[in-house]
């Protein structure tokens, strides 16, 4: 009975601390200078220019319609990144003001940088949000490229919405959309 109990509860398993540390890392909380040094080392090794590490589509009501990240094993971390970025998205939308809402540019630009990543946002007129997370070491990506990625994403999303069998509000399971996203996440070189 006791052993079963232990194995059943993987909520705070042994690696919970390491997970926690990763979370801190992503939000830029360095625990100590030594840690941040380690991270910097790691960053160099990762310097291989993936275009995006995480792409998310968020519904008007702020729940995810689609989220995909490259290091699959640590998906939850990106969930948190994207989720918190919504604060900034909302702030940016509301800052534009009601009158200007029509002329508002869909591309929101850099939402916030973290130690490892840069988070970019894009909001359609129907308040569907796209979030792209890129590695902050990836300097090859310019603003224009990010914009074009969002545009491609938006087009593909429009196709998804045009599918009569898609229920607005459901998670996106379209293969076409998935392949577009995959294309953005593969190595740029």
């Amino acid at each position: 009975m006791l052993t079963r109990l232990k194995t059943q509860v993987p909520l705070f398993s042994m690696n919970s601390y390491t997970k926690l540390r990763e979370k801190l890392k992503l939000s830029g909380l360095s625990l100590a200078s030594t840690h941040s040094h380690v991270i910097r080392l790691g960053r160099h090794s990762r310097h291989n220019s993936k275009m995006a590490v995480c792409i998310a589509v968020i519904a008007k009501e702020n729940y995810p319609l689609f989220i995909r990240s490259v290091p699959v094993q640590n998906e939850l971390k990106f969930h948190y990144t994207v989720h918190t970025s919504l604060d900034v998205v909302e702030e940016k939308i509301s800052a534009v003001g009601k009158a200007m809402a029509d002329q508002r540019e869909l591309y929101l630009g850099l939402l916030y940088p973290t130690e490892d990543y840069k988070v970019y946002g894009y909001v359609t007129n129907s308040k569907v949000k796209f979030v792209i997370v890129v590695d902050s070491s990836n300097t090859s990506l310019r603003d224009n490229e990010i914009r074009s990625m969002f545009r491609k994403l938006h087009n593909s999303f429009t196709d998804v919405m045009c599918n009569p069998f898609y229920n607005p509000g459901d998670t996106i399971q379209s293969k076409a959309f998935d392949s577009i996203v995959s294309a953005m996440m593969v190595q740029a070189s």
Partner: protein, 1129 residues
């Protein structure tokens, strides 16, 4: 300086810091009571100068931080209030020493100090000192506030003097260099005479004076000094102090612009009088005084710019991390007031990066918490929740020896709103709000674990239930398994229930009914079984209807009534009887689901639910579950929901909260209790239900009988309810109309049973029912083929029976063998009837309810005998005739047929024999006539049928034909065989003729004797029994002789002579009257003579309508004998 004060805000720059500390042993709660009273004096307006002094109290302050007092004077401890307990005068010196020790800690910076002594009563050893106050107890110290105010004023005097001292310090004297602790070693050996150095000194001093001015309430002066300091310091690149000067400028401007404060606390900080009447946006009505100020004061945009600059300067110094962090926090607060969240987030982002060196776990928690709070302040709820969660995780980091699960749990709870999660499942099920499921699931898992580690499994169960209930669709199969397993583990320690859990901080965790385990799709209330259904007495029902509305029909339906109807169900339940509700459920889990104690929740009536346990297979389809219960009182019962126990969690699922459940109404009327009868019979139960199953039957019996057989059926009724049986009615209905049935099928005598009422519970009553089957005995003509048809039939007309008509064409097309014809006759017919027992009693009877118990009686009728042909033969007497019946034995046994006054006839299987029965003709007029009332309303055809039936049954009973097979015996009825012609033959004519010869009534077989030569009187008498008057008639008597060889001699003029006329006349005879006419004959020779009385129709037209059979006059046979006298002569 390592520990930042995260609570700092810009307006803290204008406060003076006072430390309040206990000395010696002071009870904590007492100390904080005094502390609270002291801190209430946060703002003191100075009498003479119209200025306000703001005081910041701390009960704990690091001396290390005090060293930064020159850098920013609000960090400097300028006042000390010590609180101490002193029991006796003896302890006083010791206490006093301690006070002085404490003073020394902050000694360098203190302007003044006070000691509050509690407990010392009466004698005070020393002389009155200004800095010591004595109070007898903690409760008895009315002038603490006053003392503090005095103290603050004394601080103000020192502050003011210092300010004036520094401000007027002209360049004549050498200005000392103010520095922060880590700078001290940098300036060793620096040229103190250089211009650069002097400027630096000047700049720093200006900044310091600015601080003092701000503290002393001279905002305008402070701004001027800060501006000067900025200029001076910028020129010498003294970045740290430049930053401080800029920050000072910002603080002063913030104080000017936002007199309400930026800390978000509305406590006590009133708009300063010294600033004049300022409105919230910092623009005074008195513009003239504003102009000068506005010049120096920074605008809202500038404030942020300068903060940014200051922070960038601080950032150059690693040791000024705390200053930088605090500046960030202050700037964020200002931006929050300005509602510029984006910029604030940038400041916070920066604050996140500031490295303060090795922080203790507690400091980390504090830091994350404050970050969370600040994010919350600027409306970034998600970010706030993220940091709160990080703080929570920090509380239980593995490096902490004693993990603070309680704190962790508390912090986690605070993050709920950030993840748009509400722990009330009712809110969750509403609308399409979904939130970010992945993080919500994670958070719930963490809540579960934290609450478990906290030692509160009840909370864990509640959270897990919530997780299962709300996130079920999002969990994978594996997760579902894990979650339910851990739920079961927790509930083994602490079963989950429906009570609201209240946390120590007042948060209420509403109950989570697991309405998705299993999912209920529909709820249907079931009617009672047929035999237990209550019925309302007709009359009473009508009364009820009429009382509701005066109209028979109205298109206007009252709204409430309409609604009541949609919800209310047609049928009724009975108090004390088990009622059923059917739920359609299914199990969404990938494994078998065990549901225990599933019962009904009701309101309105006292209800005893009988819970059920069920086990649903993995991902089952819809599955019907019947929940039962017994209403204990009468009234309207509302099925409001159901109760389950799954994985140890008991839930009350209310239907109101489950919009997905289909229901056809949940309110049903419960009527008072009625008795219950159980029926048992002497006959075996029927396996097959009755064919016309439009009515449901409580039970049915079946029996096999030969046609004409009678069987007794004993029915036992037992009262198995709890009420007395008071009334009992029995009715029956034959439901098979295809077969023609003669005689009464079921007959009984209820008298005896009724006499035993009322029937107490447990008692029983018996009733004997006679089951008599008499179907059509007529048979088809195809059997005749086997018979030697001697053409006896006088009628010569086809025998019209329904069966025969069907069979006739077949017989023609196909020559039938005896085998096939036999099978046709062996086919078993069925007869079915329903007996209904209507009973009532107890309280239900008072309300006009009764119950029905119905018994189906199914009888398979095997054919016994058939009358294949019927005919009549006139008998020798006119009043009698012979009825010839061809009797066919269709059974496989030897059969004996007998009739009244006739000998028995033995028939072998499939044998047919003729049977002749002599019967007196029937006088059908003696049959009772249907009363006029009935005649008027039924159609003539029916009346005719009824009449025929009555006649046939009369004939049948007269004949009394019975059969006997081995041990069975029964009757046979000729009813169906008789046709109109035969009937006519069997009927007595309505005109009754009597012929009397020689005073003796004469008939065909009677020979009247007479003597030759004697006059023979002949009388013909007519009795009219018909309804109409008949006649007049003329009758002619024709004598003839029959030679018995087919020759009849009518030429008898010389042998017979009439005395008088040979024709009689009968006048009109009215109904029921009679008329006679007389004549006489004279026979001249001996011999056998016959008299044929011929009817001559004299009446014009009238007589023709009468059938010839009415004139059945007997022929008279007279034997004329030799007269003996003559012979003698």
């Amino acid at each position: 300086m390592s520990i930042p004060d995260y609570m700092q805000c810009a307006e803290d720059h204008q406060t003076v810091l006072v430390v309040v500390q206990p000395v010696g042993i002071v009870p904590e709660d007492e100390f904080f009571r005094i502390y609270k009273r002291i801190t209430s004096v946060a703002q003191v307006s100075i009498r003479d100068s119209q200025r306000n002094l703001y005081i910041r109290y701390r009960h704990h302050y690091l001396p290390e931080n005090n060293e930064w007092g020159d850098f920013q004077t609000h960090r400097k401890v300028v006042g000390l209030i010590s609180v101490t307990t002193c029991g006796s005068a003896k302890e006083w010196p010791q206490t006093s020493d301690r006070f002085h020790c404490q003073k020394d800690v902050f000694g360098a910076t203190l302007y003044d100090s006070r000691l509050l002594v509690f407990g010392l009563q009466g004698e005070i050893a020393e002389q009155q000192r200004t800095d010591v106050a004595f109070y007898p107890s903690y409760d008895d110290c009315p002038d603490v506030e006053k003392r503090v105010e005095d103290f603050v004023e004394s601080i103000f005097i020192v502050l003011e003097s210092k300010r004036l001292d520094r401000a007027t310090d002209k360049s004549g004297d050498k200005i000392p260099l103010l520095c922060v602790p880590f700078e001290k070693k940098d300036f060793v050996g620096l040229d103190t005479d250089s211009r650069h150095y002097k400027k630096r000194c000047q700049g720093r001093m200006r900044k310091h004076v600015g601080d003092l001015c701000l503290q002393a309430g001279m905002l305008q002066d402070a701004l001027v000094h800060y501006h000067m300091a900025v200029e001076l310091l910028r020129s010498v690149n003294d970045f740290l102090w430049l930053g401080a000067a800029l920050e000072g400028l910002c603080s002063a401007s913030v104080i000017f612009h936002y007199p309400g404060g930026t800390a978000g606390k509305a406590s006590g900080r009133e708009p300063s009088l010294a600033h004049g009447a300022l409105t919230a946006n910092g623009i005074s009505a008195d513009t003239s005084s504003e102009i000068g100020r506005a010049k120096n004061c920074l605008g809202p945009e500038d404030i942020i710019e300068k903060y940014k600059e200051a922070i960038s300067y601080y950032g150059k110094y690693k040791n000024a991390g705390v200053i930088e962090l605090e500046a960030c926090v202050k700037a964020v607060r200002v931006l929050a007031i300005q509602k510029r969240a984006m910029e604030a987030s940038e400041f916070l982002q920066n604050a996140v990066y500031i490295n303060l060196g090795q922080l203790s776990e507690e400091e980390k928690i504090q830091r994350y918490s404050i970050l969370s709070e600040l994010y919350h302040l600027i409306g970034f709820h998600r970010k706030s929740a993220f940091f709160k969660r990080v703080a929570a995780m920090q509380c239980v980091a593995p490096t902490i020896p004693e993990p603070g699960w309680r704190a962790c749990y508390k912090l986690l709870l605070e993050t709920l709103s950030g993840y748009s999660l509400c722990l009330d499942p009712k809110d969750f099920s509403k609308g399409s709000h979904r939130g970010w499921a992945a993080v919500q699931v994670r958070l719930l898992h963490e809540l579960v674990y934290a609450s478990r580690r906290m030692g509160n499994p009840g909370l864990s169960v509640r959270h897990l239930s919530f997780l299962l209930q709300t996130m079920l669709d999002l969990l994978s199969d594996q997760e579902k398994k894990e979650v339910t397993q851990s739920l079961e583990n927790y509930t083994s320690k602490c079963p989950g229930g429906m009570e609201v859990l209240t946390l120590p901080d007042g948060l209420k965790l509403p109950p989570v009914p697991l309405s998705k385990l299993p999912i209920v799709r529909s709820v249907k209330l079931l009617d009672l079984p047929v035999s237990l259904r209550p019925h309302k007495q007709k009359g009473l029902l009508e009364n009820n209807m009429s009382s509701k509305s005066p109209f028979i029909y109205s298109p206007i339906i009252m709204h409430t009534r309409g609604e009541e109807r949609t919800k209310k169900i047609e049928f009724r339940w009975v108090q004390g009887d088990v009622c059923e509700v059917q739920l359609m459920v299914y199990n969404p889990m990938p494994f078998e689901l065990r549901v225990e104690h599933m019962g009904l929740l009701t309101s309105g009536v006292e209800f005893e639910a009988l819970p059920a346990a069920l086990s649903l297979p993995a991902e089952s389809g819809l599955y019907p579950v019947t929940l039962v219960g017994v209403p204990r009182t009468a009234g309207n019962i509302n099925i409001s929901g159901y109760h389950t126990s799954v994985f140890g969690v008991t839930s009350d699922c209310l239907l109101d909260g489950l919009p997905s459940v289909r229901t056809s109404g949940c309110v049903v009327e419960v009527i008072p209790s009625l008795p219950r009868l159980q029926l048992s019979t002497s006959l075996p139960r029927s396996a097959h239900p009755l064919r016309p199953s439009k009515e449901e039957l409580s039970s049915s019996v079946s029996v096999q009988l030969f046609n004409g057989e009678t069987q007794q059926l004993t029915i036992t009724l037992e009262n198995i309810g709890s009420e007395d049986l008071e009334t009992l009615e029995v009715t029956s209905k034959t439901c098979n109309t295809k077969e023609k049935l003669f005689g009464e099928f079921l007959s009984w005598d209820l008298e005896e049973a009724v006499s035993q009422l009322p029937l107490k519970p447990g008692q029983s009553v018996t009733l004997t029912v006679n089951v008599k089957v008499r179907l059509d005995f007529s048979g088809g003509e195809n059997l005749l083929q086997d018979l030697n048809d001697d053409g006896i039939s006088v009628t010569g007309l086809p025998i019209s029976s329904p069966l025969r008509q069907v069979l006739k064409p077949r017989a023609e097309t196909k020559p039938l063998g005896s085998e096939s014809s036999k099978t046709d006759y062996n086919h078993v017919k069925t007869l079915e009837a329903v007996m209904t027992f209507k009973y009532s009693g107890g309280a239900g009877k008072m309300e006009g309810y009764y119950r029905d118990l119905s018994l189906g009686v199914h009888v398979d009728v095997e054919p016994s005998v058939f009358f294949t042909r019927v005919s009549t033969l006139p008998a020798t007497r006119t009043r009698q005739c012979h009825l010839l019946l061809d009797v066919f034995n269709s059974t496989e046994h030897e059969l004996m047929v007998s009739a009244n006054n006739n000998q028995d006839l033995v028939l072998h299987p499939s044998e047919c024999q003729r049977m002749a029965i002599q019967v007196a003709k029937f006088d059908f007029h003696t049959l009772p006539q249907p009363d006029q009332e009935a005649v008027r309303y039924t159609n003539p055809k029916l009346l005719e049928e009824e009449r025929l039936h009555a006649q046939a049954s009369m004939i049948s009973s007269t004949l009394g034909i019975t059969w006997n097979i081995i041990s069975f015996d029964g009757e046979a009825s000729v009813e169906g065989v008789l046709n109109q012609l035969v009937l006519e033959h069997l009927q007595l004519a309505p005109l009754q003729w009597d012929v009397v010869v020689n005073g003796k009534p004469c008939d065909c077989d009677i020979i009247a004797d007479c003597k030759v030569g004697d006059a023979v009187p002949l009388e013909v008498k007519l009795t009219n029994r018909s309804k109409n008057a008949v006649g007049p008639f003329a009758l002619t008597v024709v004598p003839f002789q029959d030679y018995q060889n087919g020759v009849q001699n009518y030429d008898l003029q010389d042998a017979v002579t009439f005395i008088g006329s040979n024709t009689f006349y009968i006048d009109m005879v009215k109904p029921t009257e009679n008329s006679a006419c007389m004549g006489a004959l004279l026979f001249l020779y001996t011999g056998d003579f016959y008299l044929n009385i011929k009817f001559q129709d004299d009446s014009a037209g009238q007589g023709k309508e009468l059938p010839p059979s009415w004139f059945g006059l007997p022929s008279v046979h007279i034997k004329a004998l030799e007269a003996p006298i003559e012979a003698g002569a």
